[in-house]
């Protein structure tokens, strides 16, 4: 099962290179970002600071953005591909973190990950391409709504949550 951590990351990077192969410049840019991500991963393995773990994962997401740079972002095919590839990275992130910390990962966690990407796909379809908004300003509208939602969510939880017996 632990092999799946690295298989998922390998597939993710391979798909990024495959998606960016239409242009040499994009391909090289993607390859460079992937190498930075790998470098950060090596640093994480050496230093074992969790910051590097999230840094290389974010660099991976950036590499995805670069790979899909010249694709039409409003096409449902592009979105489908982007979310599918992103879900592979998220699976890697969760596999790595949970195996390292708890030695196991449950289907429930993976199911919620896939559900999150599916819901994102549909929310983009509904909020940004449907009747509510369109294009860039639709995205901005959703972003603002999300920021307001987050503001309420980030409020500290009740004190009892930190007590354990």
């Amino acid at each position: 099962m632990k092999r799946s951590i690295w298989i998922s990351l390998g597939i993710y990077f391979f798909l990024l290179l495959l998606l960016s192969s239409y242009s040499l410049r994009i391909f090289l840019l993607s390859a460079m970002t992937i190498s930075i991500a790998v470098l950060l991963l090596i640093l994480y393995r050496i230093i074992e600071s969790e910051i590097f773990f999230y840094a290389y994962n974010f660099t991976g997401i950036t590499a995805l953005l670069i790979s899909l740079k010249n694709y039409n972002p409003y096409s449902w095919v592009t979105l489908g591909v982007a979310y599918s590839v992103l879900s592979i990275l998220l699976i890697h992130l969760y596999l790595y973190r949970f195996f390292q910390k708890f030695g196991t990962i449950k289907r429930e966690t993976l199911a919620y990950l896939l559900l999150a990407t599916l819901l994102s796909f549909f929310s983009v379809q509904i909020f940004m391409m449907g009747s509510i908004g369109y294009g860039f300003w639709g995205a901005v509208g959703l972003g603002v709504a999300i920021l307001i939602l987050l503001y309420f969510l980030i409020q500290p939880k009740s004190k009892e949550s930190s007590d354990s017996t």
């Binding site: 969790e50 999230y54 994962n57 974010f58 997401i61 950036t62 995805l64 953005l65 899909l68 740079k69 694709y71 972002p73 409003y74 592009t78 979105l79 982007a82 979310y83 992103l86 879900s87 998220l90 969760y94 973190r97 949970f98 910390k101 708890f102 030695g103 196991t104 990962i105 449950k106 966690t109 919620y112 990950l113 559900l115 999150a116 990407t117 819901l119 994102s120 929310s123 983009v124 940004m128 294009g135 860039f136 639709g138 995205a139 901005v140 959703l142 972003g143 999300i146 920021l147 939602l149 987050l150 969510l153 980030i154 939880k157 009892e160 949550s161 930190s162 007590d163 354990s164 017996t165």
Partner: protein, 394 residues
């Protein structure tokens, strides 16, 4: 408590939105949505703090035994639990039971002082961490060899009936003398062969069996931490002390203990199981540390000051210091009987270093044999097999 992953996801989300603004592209904003959904999921499924209960069947074990721990975990999510003996990790849904078998490899004490409990929700975004006060302990006693007979005989016995043959006549097993029958003598003690020879009634006399005092003097001054060989010799010394103490506590004799390490630790001679547990409990704390410069005279002083004269002193020492010889002579002069049990690991190798060590040790042993009984014990062999060849000590 929110985890670092939670904040990382929030930062991912914010950064992707920022990238969307900077590059005037909606794709980063679209890709930020899964992180938001994950945060929302975790907000709606708040997990409760986890509860852990640990149990184990016994409090006392012997080296090599296996303890079966049972942990009952109550909660829903991923957990990481660490106490003095075990480390558990996994996933629990409502109530689950974890079993752990722990082989106790070395004598000592496992004291449960604190337990760390880390618990995360199913998406790893919320966590509970607590370090609670823990209680309970497990005592791991040194491995004890079964000794059928340990042929020692203190010079002077006490008045109470025991297992050591004394110089007094009385009811016992060991034959001592024949005398003429006197009214009141037990008919079963009549020696019929001697009666036939002497033509008058003769009876057997036996040695009366009484208790005696024995002191185990354990010398662990020159063992330093980190050396595997010293560690082995120390373990063997402690096991030997435990074996002898257990045997002596069965023989209804009084047994005491003096430990010479970084300081002098001692137990006044006591009878029976109480003595055994007192000594075994004290032996749990014997560990290799840095080399102690404590002179052997302290041990000699404690023995001669606090333990009755004519006691039998069993000195367990690898003879790594030269001040032992004079102390042994002085103890003998104060009418203590001494048996030196010297554990060693010097084998039959033919290299120069081993040869020198062997010769040096031989000189020490020969010198000590002038005054006391010495048992040279290579710890590769069991103690009982070495002591079998020992003749009765008087």
């Amino acid at each position: 408590m929110r985890t670092l992953q939670y904040y990382a996801f929030v930062i991912y989300f914010a950064l992707l939105l920022l990238l969307s603004f900077v590059f005037l592209s909606p794709l980063p904003a679209f890709l930020s949505l899964p992180f938001l959904w994950l945060i929302i999921f975790s907000e709606f499924r708040i997990t409760k703090p986890v509860k852990v209960q640990r149990s184990f069947p016994e409090k006392r074990y012997v080296e090599g035994n296996v303890v079966k721990f049972r942990y009952m975990i109550e909660g829903h999510g991923y957990y990481f639990i660490k106490d003095s003996a075990n480390q558990l990790q996994g996933f629990c849904k409502n109530i689950c039971v974890e079993k752990r078998d722990l082989r106790l490899r070395k004598f000592g004490k496992i004291a449960f002082r604190k337990m760390e409990i880390y618990f995360e929700d199913f998406l790893g975004l919320y966590a509970h961490y607590s370090r609670k006060k823990d209680s309970g302990e497990i005592k791991v006693y040194p491995k004890i060899e079964y000794m059928r007979k340990f042929p020692i005989k203190p010079r002077k016995t006490r008045t109470l009936l025991g297992d050591y043959p004394s110089k007094r006549k009385g009811r016992g097993i060991e034959f001592m003398d024949i005398r003429e029958y006197e009214p009141g003598d037990d008919m079963r003690r009549i020696n019929w062969k001697a009666t036939a020879r002497a033509d008058k009634l003769m009876v057997n006399e036996y040695e009366s069996e009484r208790t005696g005092d024995t002191v185990i003097l354990l010398d662990v001054r020159r063992f330093y931490k980190g050396s595997e060989e010293y560690e082995k010799i120390l373990n063997a010394s402690v096991r030997a002390a435990a074996t002898i103490a257990t045997y002596l506590s069965r023989t209804r004799s009084r047994v005491g203990l003096v430990i010479l390490g970084h300081s002098v630790d001692w137990i006044y001679p006591t009878y029976g199981k109480r003595a055994m547990y007192l000594i075994l409990d004290r032996l749990l704390y014997v560990r290799t540390k840095r080399i102690s410069r404590l002179p052997f005279d302290y041990g000699k002083f404690i023995v001669s000051r606090f333990f009755p004269p004519n006691s039998f002193v069993i000195l367990i020492s690898p003879l790594l210091s030269w001040d032992i010889d004079d102390a042994v002579v002085e103890l003998l002069a104060k009418k203590y009987d001494i048996l030196v049990l010297s554990p060693t690991l010097i084998g039959d190798e033919n290299d120069l270093a081993t040869e020198i060590l062997r010769m040096e040790r031989e000189v020490r042993l020969r010198r000590l044999r002038l005054y006391a009984r010495v048992v040279d014990w290579n710890i590769r062999y069991p103690l009982t097999s070495v002591l079998k060849v020992l003749r009765v000590m008087r």
